[in-house]
């Protein structure tokens, strides 16, 4: 395309500051559309955003609560990083999150007399990871053995596990005499330690450690090389001797384990009982976080804290300006759409056409 002496040229390499710029454009666009959405309620846009910010970062406790909200999002985001790096479309983090939460709840309910201290907590979290991995493995098996569409299988698994949980919560696991569909509160020794006299629990630090481990896995190990190779070019990587099916299976297991850990952390660190509403779509939000974080663990942690801030601040915003908390869900989708579109801009650069032609 030519305009006068300028023309558009495709970039061969997109540097990190161009990528950062595209994220800024996406955020600006999203908050712009968000402003329009706020106007439909009749509230003042400035006041609403100020309340949102104040609720998220206004005080030490607000900031710590933002970190609490970001904890499951970091882990589901990482789960998506591992999967998407291999272009394995695991949309099942939501179900794997619940699988992890259910396993953590089961260990908390049954093993609290047999184990104690760090051993019990480790058992809770390891069970959560195993359960998440197992739930993901079903979808992986359908993909590998039958070449089934993994997106649809994983989405269906998200619904199936909710019915399973609903069954358990209305029968064997239900708190005796309770009006709500929930388990009884677990024993205190199953709780993850909390810090800074706030709700910030060990799960947040687990998530940070997981970020480092995912970074090492993806960029510093041969498995990580296989994962990225399968994502970039499955045919070529097969010729290089990479076993695609095994890579897909491994990716799904790791991805499911991370999502499961997110569920386990919420149970042991925050909820201390199992309910149907422990997730506000963390699994789906993980998709946006992974893409916003550029499939990079550091970026994911930052994006998760940003989204945690939105979730945390939105409660404050609803109380003081009446703008519904649901604004955040729309904002998340808009951020993703703008991000995808602004990426197109960064694929090109404007160059002066040489006089020779």
């Amino acid at each position: 395309m030519k305009i006068g002496t300028l023309h558009l040229e495709k970039r061969t390499h997109v540097s990190w500051y161009v990528q950062g710029f595209s994220i800024l454009i996406a955020l600006a666009g999203a908050f712009g559309v968000g402003a329009l959405l706020i106007m439909t309620t009749g509230a003042s846009v400035g006041e609403a955003y100020a309340a949102l910010f104040k609720g998220a970062f206004g005080s030490r406790n607000a900031f710590l609560e933002t970190l609490v909200q970001s904890t499951p999002l970091i882990l589901t985001g990482l789960a998506m990083v591992v999967a998407f790096r291999a272009r394995v479309w695991n949309i099942g983090a939501e179900g794997q999150f619940f699988a992890g939460a259910m396993a953590a709840a089961w260990v908390s309910m049954t093993l609290h007399d047999d184990l104690s201290g760090p051993l019990l907590l480790a058992a809770v979290l390891v069970a959560a990871m195993l359960a998440g991995a197992c739930w993901a493995m079903i979808a992986a098996y359908c993909k590998i053995r039958f070449n089934a569409n993994i997106i649809i299988v994983t989405v269906m698994m998200n619904y199936i596990i909710l019915f399973l949980l609903s069954y358990l919560l209305s029968n064997t696991w239900r708190e005796p005499g309770s009006y709500f569909m929930q388990t009884a509160r677990f024993e205190r020794i199953t709780y993850l330690p909390r810090f800074f006299s706030s709700r910030l629990h060990l799960g947040f630090f687990n998530a940070l450690i997981a970020s480092v481990l995912v970074y090492v896995l993806v960029w510093k190990t041969s498995l990580g090389y296989s994962i990225r190779a399968v994502g970039v070019n499955p045919v070529a990587s097969q010729f290089k001797g990479i076993q695609i099916k095994r890579t897909i299976l491994t990716v799904m297991l790791i991805s499911g384990a991370l999502a499961g850990l997110a569920g386990g952390g919420e149970i042991a660190g925050l909820q201390h009982r199992l309910r149907l509403d422990i997730s506000t779509g963390y699994g789906y939000t993980g998709i946006i976080i992974a893409l916003l974080g550029r499939l990079n663990p550091v970026g994911v942690a930052l994006a998760a804290i940003f989204f945690g801030a939105l979730v945390n601040g939105s409660t404050h915003m609803q109380i003081f300006t009446g703008v519904p908390v649901a604004l955040v869900q729309s904002l998340q989708g808009i951020v993703l759409i703008f991000l995808l579109m602004s990426d197109v801009l960064t694929r090109y650069r404007i160059r002066r056409t040489p006089h020779a032609d």
């Binding site: 959405l37 619904y159 019915f163 209305s170 989708g333 759409i337 995808l340």
Partner: protein
């Protein structure tokens, strides 16, 4: 109790339940069929259905006219898929990621819109609308069993069924239909004949979006009479699975949709009779069946070859 299962009454309610339940699945699946035949994989059906369900509900609620609601839902679905078309056909973005983004955006928008339109609503005072009446076809609806099942249904059910032969005729007997199918297989060949590939794809994607919006409107305006944030409950995804299961052909898609409807209707009837069986297992059946259907169709016969691949003219 088993004898309850064998009566004519049971058969009648089972089959008319099948017709009702499969209507939104069929509408969305037919839309997605056209979209995918044009080479665009729109995974945003679920989100588009939610937007359609919300728009249809809120417009019917405030205008008191269900038909205005239907039109508004189709416009909303069309607009949302216009965004999808812009992202995938003009900007050539990854279709999977764009579709997922559309889902999250659509779901969030519908939820937010509902909260803005109906403030101070709790679980006790949910706003409702009077749903569509059944349209009985004279004489035919009096035939035992067959009458109530096929000739005493919602208007949109007839529309969905009639669209099947209509779309089959369009795809296989008309020049635009042939062109669309060619675009799904080999867009370059169509482009070389001087036909606007992107224009066709915009049309296909927007038709799909309007059908998803219509399917969503059916959920609130014909089935439920109210809106809840997760009213689509995975039906958009099941519709995509039905397209795969039906091998991207209209008539098999009709039967796939009816089969899903039959299964769902069966679990409702069993619940109604009161057989002691964990109802959650029955509720999970359609989702389990979707996985089974996808697994059986793993070899993907009939999938448009260029499905999901953005058409770039300059790339050789």
């Amino acid at each position: 109790m088993l004898t309850d299962l064998l009566t004519l009454n049971f058969l009648e309610s089972l089959l008319s339940g099948m017709m009702r339940i499969s209507t939104p699945l069929l509408l969305a699946a037919l839309g997605e069929l056209i979209t995918e035949r044009g080479g665009v994989l729109n995974l945003g059906v679920e989100g588009t259905m939610l937007v359609g369900a919300f728009t249809g509900f809120v417009v019917s609620f405030y205008t008191g006219n269900l038909y205005v609601g239907i039109c508004a839902a189709m416009v909303a679905g069309g607009l949302l898929s216009l965004l999808m078309a812009f992202m995938t056909c003009t900007l050539k973005l990854d279709q999977i990621v764009s579709g997922l983004a559309l889902n999250i955006f659509g779901g969030g928008l519908a939820f937010y819109g509902y909260r803005v339109a109906f403030q101070n609503v709790g679980s006790k005072n949910l706003p409702t609308i009077t749903t569509f009446d059944q349209v009985s076809i004279p004489v035919l609806s009096k035939i035992p069993v067959i009458g109530p099942v096929f000739f005493d249904q919602h208007l949109l059910t007839y529309v969905a069924i009639l669209l099947v032969p209509l779309l089959a005729w369009f795809l296989y007997k008309t020049v635009p239909g042939l062109t669309l199918r060619c675009i799904g297989e080999n867009p370059r060949a169509v482009d070389m004949r001087g036909i606007g590939v992107v224009r066709y794809q915009y049309g296909a994607v927007m038709f799909g979006g309007m059908m998803s919006g219509l399917a969503g409107a059916y959920l609130t305006e014909a089935a439920a009479g109210l809106f809840v944030p997760d009213i689509a409950a995975g039906r958009g995804w099941i519709a995509i699975a039905i397209v795969i299961f039906g091998g991207w052909r209209p008539i098999p898609i009709l039967f796939a949709a009816l089969f899903f409807g039959l299964l769902d209707s069966f679990q409702l009837q069993v619940q109604g009779i009161g057989i002691r069986f964990p109802y959650q297992i029955l509720l999970a059946l359609p989702y389990v069946l979707t996985i089974l259907a996808i697994v059986l169709r793993g070899t993907r016969t009939g999938e448009p070859i260029s499905l999901g691949i953005p058409y770039l003219r300059e790339k050789s």
